[in-house]
């Protein structure tokens, strides 16, 4: 019986390897990483054309616009989060691993967030300046998007895990997760608006942080369970 003291990977190593695997796959397909940024850029350039070039009006709407576009960009990429793993059989293997599926999936989600949400948040000041967002709002915009995209990615991961085995599950996914994204949108745009007005945005940021922490604790469990259900059909 050699099974008892079989050397196995520690949980952290297993997490790190899944992170690496997914990160490398993402890095190899730069189009996937650039897509949400390009989408963000295009939509932001369209708003002044549609609304008219009044800088005052644009600046006052900028927090809402930026946040809605960030939400849509995140929705767009999260739909396919587990799709390739489902198709190439990686998910089955993950489910058979001796480690909890939720932890391994979290490794993937983390890589996904870094390549999409986190990157988007860091680039967002550029887009904000295109809309004329006052400079005092930039820092809060980045911070709120960092926390917010983390929430959006985790919610998206749950939705993606639930719908991965369904062909054309995109619409169902949107229906499932847009309602859950609403609080994030409200907190995020409120924080940026407060900062632009010169008031203290910390209430909204704190709420957002709490949401992100809660999600980080609970969403992986839901993702793991959802993936098992998806594999079982």
């Amino acid at each position: 019986m050699q099974s008892v003291d079989r050397p196995s990977l520690s949980l952290l190593t297993a997490f790190g390897r899944q992170f690496r695997r997914h990160g490398q796959a993402l890095m190899a397909s730069l189009a996937d990483v650039a897509n949400p940024l390009l989408f963000f850029f295009m939509v932001v350039t369209l708003f002044p054309l549609g609304l008219g070039p009044d800088p005052q009006q644009l600046a006052s709407m900028a927090p809402g616009i930026l946040w809605v576009v960030a939400l849509l960009a995140s929705l767009m990429v999260s739909a396919r989060m587990f799709a390739s793993d489902f198709e190439d059989g990686s998910l089955e293997q993950m489910a058979l691993a001796p480690h909890p599926l939720s932890v391994l999936a979290l490794g993937e989600v983390a890589a996904h967030w870094l390549a999409t949400g986190c990157l988007l948040a860091l680039v967002s000041p550029l887009f904000a300046m295109m809309l004329g967002l006052p400079p005092q709002g930039l820092g809060v915009l980045v911070l709120s998007l960092l926390l917010g995209t983390l929430c959006l990615t985790l919610i998206g991961a749950v939705g993606s895990a639930l719908t991965v085995s369904i062909r054309r599950g995109g619409l169902l996914l949107s229906l499932l997760i847009i309602p859950l994204n609403v609080p994030v949108l409200i907190f995020g745009s409120a924080a940026v608006t407060e900062a632009v007005m010169g008031r203290d945005p910390s209430t909204w940021l704190t709420l957002m942080g709490a949401l992100a922490a809660g999600m980080l604790a609970l969403a992986p469990l839901a993702v793991g369970a959802a993936l098992r259900i998806s594999l079982d059909s």
Binding site: Q2, S3, R6, P7, S8, L9, A14, R17, Q18, R20, R21, Q24, A25, M27, A28, S29, S84, D85, E87, D88, G89, S90, L91, E92, Q93, M94, A95, L96, A97, P98, H99, L104, L231, D232, S233
Partner: protein, 198 residues
């Protein structure tokens, strides 16, 4: 030593019952070939034995040892090199160092391709990457779904040797294949035609 036992297993897919009352005990040293026509439920049975399918599976399946399951889908990322694919394998059961993985890749005749993206290799070579895992795992029970697919003659002979070696050191293998039997004296057949629901 018993590695897996299944009793009265029935498998349904969709509304249709595929198999009924399948009994199987796999002990170390045994090679089982699952036979049957296309669509009879060979892959479904293997998935059920691996523990991946629960809905639509009745009966009791006991697994006494960690197992390795190799599906039709190879769990290989085209963007990654063979080395990275194995090192960061999603089953998280490979503890080997990169040097050991390189030796395994050499054994499946992929030396020189270690750092190329797997997507640029041929189907047979991709299959070999997936099969190199057999040399790196500690699992005693292997469940292999159509392992001979896409392999050339030399590859099939290598895989046969590999399975023989594994079995001779106390392992066991359950595999599906349409190829004629290769393991004459070791082999047990599980013909699913006997369990199909008419």
């Amino acid at each position: 030593m018993l590695l897996l036992s299944a009793a009265d297993v029935s498998i349904e897919r969709g509304e249709r019952r595929l198999l009924q009352d399948v009994d199987l005990s796999v002990a170390s040293g045994q090679v089982w070939q699952v036979l049957g026509a296309n669509g009879v439920g060979k892959s479904s049975l293997l998935r059920a034995l691996a523990g991946l399918a629960r809905f639509g599976v009745e009966g009791s399946i006991s697994r006494f040892e960690p197992l390795l399951y190799l599906a039709h889908a190879p769990a290989i990322k085209g963007a990654l090199s063979p080395l990275e694919n194995l090192r960061c394998h999603p089953a998280c059961d490979i503890t080997s160092t990169p040097a050991q993985i390189a030796i395994a890749l050499d054994a499946v005749q992929l030396s020189g391709f270690e750092d190329q993206p797997v997507g640029s290799l041929s189907a047979g070579q991709q299959r070999r990457v997936a099969l190199a895992r057999l040399l790196l795992t500690d699992a005693r029970l292997w469940l292999l779904d159509e392992p001979f697919t896409a392999l050339d003659g030399g590859g099939c002979d290598w895989l046969e040797e590999c399975i023989r070696g594994h079995v001779s050191t106390g392992g066991a293998v359950v595999f599906t294949s349409h190829q004629p039997s290769r393991f004459s004296e070791l082999q047990h057949d599980l013909d699913l035609a006997n369990y199909a629901v008419s």
